[in-house]
Amino acid sequence: MIVDFLPVARINPMAPEFARTLIVMPAFNEEASVADVVAEVKAKLPGITVLVVDDGSLDATSAVARAAGALVATLPFNLGVGGAMRVGFNYALENGFDNVVQIDSDGQHDPTSVPQLLAALAGADLVLGARFAGEGHYAVRGPRRWAMVSFAAILSRTSRTKLTDTTSGYRASGPKAVALFAKHYPAEYLGDTIEALVIASRSDLTIRQVPVSMRPRAGGVPSHNPFKAAAYLGRATVALVFAFIRPRSTYRVGGSV
């Protein structure tokens, strides 16, 4: 189900959706960009709650985000995106938010796509914002590209839906996914993207993909160092293999919630 793009009008048809939705922004040393991204999210998605999870930053990320009007949870040391997202999922669960949308704090994700992600949640538990699905311009080359393509093929089979961009951090989780991820979101490197998809599929959640446009990152260029690319491929493969052979009991929800 593809939903038409919803412009943010004065009368906002998404208002009830926004009230039930928590935007989670993991931030590690992002004092330069986090305020602008928070302001943009609040302007384009009126009435939505923004939680910035400061992942043990050494700079003023927490203070800047708080001044910009976001809720801020500060981790005492760096846990990686997975750990930061677990804080976000737990906050959502404990404070009655049904949906969680993850947005990067470097401005890479355009918040105008959030209504599309939320609309797609009506028929799915987990919605990925995909970079290669037609919209926007985002080029990756070399081994990193091959890895992304083969992972997409494998994960499309597992989740029984067509996925093209499995490492996208721009994603929306519905109530079932929030309950699962609050307890079992993988904290390993790359676990937060690839393994989370496998856990969701193996827990019988419905996964969908909607095209979103991505902006170039505010700072830094994706690395084309062949050694780094090889290390990335290796670690991603390990993450994927273990995601599949892990016993189901390690991510069971229910019972003692």
């Binding site: 999870v53 949870a73 981790l75 750990g83 804080v87």
Partner: protein, 132 residues
């Protein structure tokens, strides 16, 4: 084998056991971490007092030079201890991570309730504590 090397072997093995037991006694070592060291100490003591047991064990598994069995068992025990430590480290990391997440959430909750109290008027002094 000289008398000196015989006694040296027994004393070394006894020393391992004494240290392990002393650490256990003072709660500097938990039982589940002590178990491999204890097994190693007992094996060393038996092989030290009765060298024929070592020769017999080596012939049973087809090792021609008995000392190679000692090396094999030593390395195997060290390997298992290291593996156990890596696993414990992983569990500890996972517990610290959960604690860090909890702290971040608690800190946020404290700040939220303090801010909502603060906006009610009284600002810390006087009867501020009588709220909540």
């Amino acid at each position: 084998m000289s008398v000196a090397s015989y006694i040296f072997g027994i004393i070394s093995a006894a020393l391992i056991l004494v240290v392990v037991i002393e650490l256990l006694r003072r709660r500097h070592l938990r039982e589940r971490h002590a178990v491999w060291w204890f097994i190693a100490g007992v094996l060393a003591l038996v092989a030290g007092i009765f060298p024929q047991t070592l020769e017999w064990a080596a012939s049973v598994v087809g090792i021609e030079v008995p000392i190679n069995l000692v090396f094999f068992v030593s390395i195997a025990i060290l390997f298992l201890v290291l593996l156990q430590h890596s696993s414990e480290l992983t569990k500890l990391e996972s517990k610290t991570r959960t604690l860090a997440e909890r702290i971040a959430l608690l800190e946020l909750a404290v700040r939220e309730s303090r801010d909502s109290n603060g906006s009610n008027g009284s600002n810390g002094s006087g009867d501020g504590h009588s709220q909540s």
